[in-house]
Amino acid sequence: MSVKVEASHGGIPHGKIAAAGIIIALVSLYIAVIGHEVLGFDYFAFFGGIAAIGALIWGNSAIKRLCSYGIGAGVPSAGMLAFGSGLFGMFLGIAIGAMTSVWIIPVAVLVIALITGVILGWIANTVLNMKIPVMIQSLAELAAVGALTTLGLRTVAIGGLELEAGFVFVAVGFIAVAFMLGAIALQHPFNACLGPGETQDRTNMLVIECGFLSMIIMAVISFVAVSAVAGWISLVIAIIGWAVSYKKYIALSKRDAAAWLDAKPFVDAEEE
């Protein structure tokens, strides 16, 4: 049984962040579906990126909660695990959507990924005997985050959620890019801000920055599959979002840093 060590005190509780993340992700995905199904254009592809950011905010909070049980070195692994288990939910959810209706896909992906995560968490806690109290819930959440993020980035790349449109995504291997972009973007914010002085708003700003950065790349790739207008809309929104969040993140780092020095030597404690 591991001992819980709080990563950072105070701030918005995990439940609220998770709820906000799920709502942002699902609403954004449904706006993309409305654009593709009802309005008949793919200009709303960029909402996939917003969905990915929502899911990443949720995932970052879940990683922070899981890693407060003394598995600091496992932060990058948690990102990989989330996306590895999430892919199953994403594929099955899309396949179910192909058999029924495209409107089911976001919810189906979320539910199937949660179930996958629960099974993995149960295996980790009982079969592998890790006995971490939040393991089952955290792995379920991370699998759902992985699935929703990949689904979001996939939407940016191909403009819709349908199975048919996604063949180029899988066959050409763009899914590999989405997988790695999402996995590193999921683990990086908490991993980078790790330490006694970690603050929630700075870490969350980094999540948003990583999300937009991943969206820039998917927007560049999207020119293969979506209309040029949709590609440019995604790219411009991603670049603006990234620039704003990057600037804000630097400002927050400046706020939290012990000192902000330019071309000055450090002063040793003994020398003072």
């Binding site: 932060v75 990058p76 990102g79 990989m80 066959a171 050409v172 291997g173 763009f174 899914i175 590999a176 890019v177 997988f179 790695m180 972009l181 996995a183 590193i184 683990q187 990086h188 914010p189 991993n191 980078a192 801000c193 790790l194 330490g195 006694p196 002085g197 970690e198 700075r202 870490t203 980094l206 920055e209 990583c210 950065l213 790349i217 560049v220 790739i221 020119f223 293969v224 990057y246 993140y249 630097i250 927050l252 780092s253 400046k254 939290d256 840093a257 012990a258 000192a259 902000w260 020095l261 330019d262 071309a263 000055k264 030597p265 450090f266 002063v267 040793d268 404690a269």
Partner: protein
């Protein structure tokens, strides 16, 4: 016959490219301070040793390089599908991957350093400006050469995987080779030049990394300057041999026993290397260690 000759040519070229990639990767990760030696850089301020070393805590090198290379491969592949010239597509893909690498490096340095504010570790903006660009330059070389290897595999050799999937495989291999081969030279040797040679890192010396250079305070670029002489080439040799033997056995033996020839050749190569490794390890231990009392 012609197919085999072309295959051998590609093997030699890919091996040479991989040697460059490995050397650049290790130097990049040491200048940025990534991977396991970075735990000491992270620990130093907590033990009272303020320093001017970079802190590129993106993740371990294998996942990080998997992302950079996969990303470059994916973007290059997208540009190729849009009908762009191959060299231009690969260069543009690599440029985008390098920018992403640079952004991740800065956010990692800022994030980790700001979270150490309790221990008085300042953020040095000159370090951020000078070191980030140097790591980006080395990363460009490492990513470009690896993407070219993947492109050769996909187009000339006719590998069944698409370019981004090859990027995952070879990016991971590149990061693993650089991490396993190059890191000890940076982590155990360069960071602890103030300890007795071969002493390992005693608990009492944890975080007490070398922070002063020949003149002034040590910067991460000094670390790259040092490790580029041995750790970098050793990593290059490692990754070069991995790529060379992998392609060599495939090109020469895949037509035997319905493909199993290449598998058997791979197993034989591994066994030969295990024997060599064992011999080198025994020889090194007999000649240099274990550390005895003076």
């Amino acid at each position: 016959m012609q197919e085999i000759i072309i295959g051998i040519g590609v093997t030699a070229l890919a091996g040479a490219l991989a040697a460059v990639a490995g050397a650049a990767e290790d130097t990049e990760s040491n200048i940025g301070s990534q991977g396991d030696p970075n735990s000491q850089v992270q620990l130093a301020p907590q033990m009272g040793y303020t320093h001017r070393i970079y802190n590129k805590a993106v993740s371990g090198e294998p996942p990080a390089y998997t992302l950079w290379v996969t990303l470059a491969c994916g973007v290059a592949w997208a540009f190729l599908m849009m009908g762009m010239n191959a060299i231009l597509a690969i260069v543009l893909g690599t440029v985008l991957a390098t920018i992403v690498q640079g952004v991740y490096a800065t956010t990692a340095y800022l994030g980790r350093t700001a979270s150490l504010s309790k221990f008085g570790q300042p953020v040095f903006t000159d370090v951020l400006k000078s070191v980030t660009t140097v790591t980006m330059g080395h990363a460009f070389v490492a990513i470009f050469t690896t993407v070219v290897i993947c492109y050769l595999l996909a187009t000339v050799i006719g590998h069944p995987f698409s370019l981004p999937l090859l990027g995952i495989v070879w990016g991971l291999a590149l990061g693993a080779a650089g991490s396993a081969t190059g890191n000890p030279y940076y982590g155990k040797e360069r960071q602890y030049q103030n300890q007795k040679f071969g002493a390992g890192v005693p608990i009492s010396a944890s975080g007490n990394i070398v922070r002063y250079a020949e003149a002034g305070q040590r910067s991460s670029i000094d670390n790259g300057f040092f490790t580029a002489k041995f750790g970098g080439p050793a990593s290059g040799l490692c990754f070069g041999l991995i790529v060379f033997f992998e392609l060599w056995r495939t090109v020469l033996f895949e037509h035997y026993l319905a493909g199993w020839g290449a598998v058997i050749a791979g197993a034989v190569i591994i066994i030969i290397f295990m024997v060599i490794d064992r011999y080198v390890e025994k020889w090194a231990r007999e000649n240099y260690g274990p550390y005895t009392e003076a």
